[in-house]
Symmetry: C2
Subunit: 423 residues, 2 copies
């Protein structure tokens, strides 16, 4: 039996009862003969309470001090978890990110992990302890200041430690049973996925699935660390994310892994752009310089009569104002006619490596949307994904229609035949 890294989120350790429940589960893994390293987030609302406190003393808290403040949250949860484990008769030691060797760059609030040197963790587990590590935090290589990793930071800590410790698996415990074929709040018949490849999971994560963040899956893929996403409440087997299906899983990958949707984006359309070389470059340079992350990009075919074209792209709503202001400043240089900003859109994505070799997936996707009366505004594709932008109001109908059309509903027999040829 090898080493297992388990990660528990804030909702799993929201109070003393939660901590005791999690402690029991950790001890079970230890009893099963594993070496166990646990990564834990701050308890429930702790982080929000600390952010609120910071707001009370300063409207613009400095990054270094904000990180120092927030990391108190995991310090509390990890120490309590170690106590709860020891109370069950097993040895446990807690470690800060710094003590665990999580070395980062110096970008406070969203530091990247540069290196992991888990010597103290390895020593601790080799001595028979369960090691508890604070998620979400590290120490900067240059200044030795405390840093936080930003969104999904604790999951990333867990995967990074799993890689550095050569773990068998990184178990991500959460408040849902795993990754589903669609958001179960939207699609009642959504099914839990038993196994999904890193590639499909990456596409789902960047298409709006919230269970695992892109960053963590990317890290796991790079170091080939199998992730097991599961519930800390139910004890059920969850979803394996890995290169190859795990023991007992079907070896043949489903054609379609799932349907993701995202209502966090807005659409910007630059209307009446002169259709000559360099205009698009000027536009996207301006957007990039404003540090806006764009997602889908579509350029209309130029109207021959006017020599003008429209360029549309999607971006996070939170970055909309910044993008529009940056574009306004290029208006004279580019000579476009107008800007349109639309935040009432949704993106629906169909993900599955199987679509590469199965003709007709695209056609079936569009047919399903059409039958549901959903209009398509933008289209973008990758090898294993098709995404469309629709009206925000249509998102639930669209997701349900597509989920059903591809035989993903839990009462479906999965035998879906695609018409047409080619993708």
């Amino acid at each position: 039996m090898g080493l297992v890294v388990q990660k528990y989120g804030g909702s799993s350790v929201a109070d003393a009862e939660g901590i005791k429940r999690v402690a029991k589960r950790i001890v079970e893994a230890k009893k099963n003969g594993h070496q166990v390293v646990v990564v834990v987030s701050a308890m429930g609302d702790t982080t929000d309470e600390l952010i609120d406190l910071a707001g009370q003393v300063s409207p613009f808290p400095a990054g270094r001090e904000f990180d120092m403040l927030l990391t108190a949250g995991e310090r509390i949860s990890m120490a309590l978890l170690a106590m709860a484990i020891k109370n069950l008769g097993h040895e446990a030691q807690s470690f800060t990110g710094s003590q665990a060797g999580v070395i980062t760059d110096s970008v406070h609030g969203k530091a990247r992990i540069i290196d992991v040197t888990p010597g103290r963790i390895q020593q601790s587990v080799d001595a028979g302890n369960i090691a508890i590590v604070a998620g979400f935090q590290g120490v900067s290589q240059d200044s030795k200041d405390i840093t936080t990793l930003g969104r999904g930071g604790s999951d990333t800590t867990a995967v990074a430690l799993a890689a550095a410790l050569n773990a068998e698996v990184c178990e991500i415990y959460t408040d849902v049973d795993g990754v589903f074929t669609a958001d179960p709040r939207v699609v009642k018949k959504a099914r839990k996925i038993d196994w999904i490849s890193f590639e499909d999971m990456l596409e789902l994560a960047s298409s709006g699935s919230k269970v695992l963040l892109h960053r963590c899956v990317e890290y796991a893929r790079r170091y080939n660390i199998p992730i097991h996403v599961r519930s800390s409440f139910s004890g059920l087997k969850g979803t394996w994310v890995s290169n190859e299906p795990q023991g007992g899983q079907p070896m043949e990958q489903a054609i379609i892994s799932g349907v993701a949707h995202d209502t966090s984006e807005a659409k910007v359309t630059v209307v009446g752009v002169p259709d000559k070389p360099g205009e698009a470059a000027t536009i996207f340079r301006a957007v990039a310089d404003a540090e806006v992350n764009i997602d889908m990009v579509v350029q209309n075919v130029s109207a021959a009569s006017t020599g003008l074209t429209d360029i549309s792209f999607t971006l996070p709503k939170a970055e909309g104002r910044r993008a529009v202001e940056a574009l306004e400043r290029t208006r004279d240089r580019v000579g476009f006619e107008s800007l349109r900003y639309d935040d009432q859109i949704a993106k629906i994505s169909l993900v599955g490596a199987g679509m590469k070799t199965n003709p007709g997936v695209t056609a079936a996707f569009f047919e399903a949307l059409s039958n549901a009366g959903v209009n398509i505004e933008l289209i973008s594709t990758s090898e294993i994904r098709i995404s469309v932008v629709t009206r925000a109001d249509d998102v639930n109908d669209a997701v349900r229609a597509v989920h059903s059309a591809f035989g993903l509903d839990s009462d479906s027999d999965e035998a879906v035949v695609y018409g047409g040829t080619g993708r």
Copy 2:
């Protein structure tokens, strides 16, 4: 202008308003041209809340994890304080005990400082920052584990940093105006002491005065760091504790510094001890092995008729049970008749280096108690202190009577003449 270390206790930073008020005071010191290092305790009730959380997950929290948990408290207050200072337009950086170079032994919960290596703090203040340091915590030399310093730990952190940084003064900010000639809650006419020697302060601290703990004063005396105890609320000048009176202070020390009282002790009497060599040694070895800290010890003159004597000593109430149990186990060996345990006692102490050279202080002390109708049960003296044990019910009357008799009352003219000869 040199370097100043300021220490703020939990009641001074109990909420966001308190933190902002303290930030202003710190910035004033900086504006006056000082390099400023600040030691801060956890906010108000934070430590109690964390202790409560620990109790919810484990009845016997392990020392290492308990220290990890508690140190989250200062992490929060120091980060918030740094933010509040930066919000006033001054640069500030917060540092954990470990980052500040507070090296301790490995005794979790009451670690002793072994060394202070404040290289990062010196760098930070040399670069123009105000450095904020977490009080009460350090890192163990051997295992690199986080430790806490126990009672009075933040004051000790401040004095230790002041010594290591060669500070001009260590300012201890608290919720009272300084050290008083008696507890102002008991003696309405108690006066604030402007200056007191390390020696007198040490005696007051070990006699029940709560403003400064013995440990912190002892550290300051060893490294000759002047302490200025003052209120973080009033802005008044407080009490200087040092070898020599500070500028503007009267150079002649008062005969008597103050009256301290202590109701936290109990009295154990071993009745009917055979008066032969070695019996007392056996008794106190048993008590010492039970890790009981004894204070006053008195042995009666042996009664010639019986060859038996009584031995009484005082000790912290919390250690009473341990002491009595340890003594019961020696009963057969020592052959004493019985044990008496009495926790309804008080200790009243008169402290002042001046009493060494002023005859009649002891007599005047006993006369004051006698006039107040207070009975004396035990007496113990040092060069600069007389202590008596009385009934707990008599403590307030006794303290007031002595305070008044030695001209310490705020409406007194201080001209006290002692009758009698010798001490």
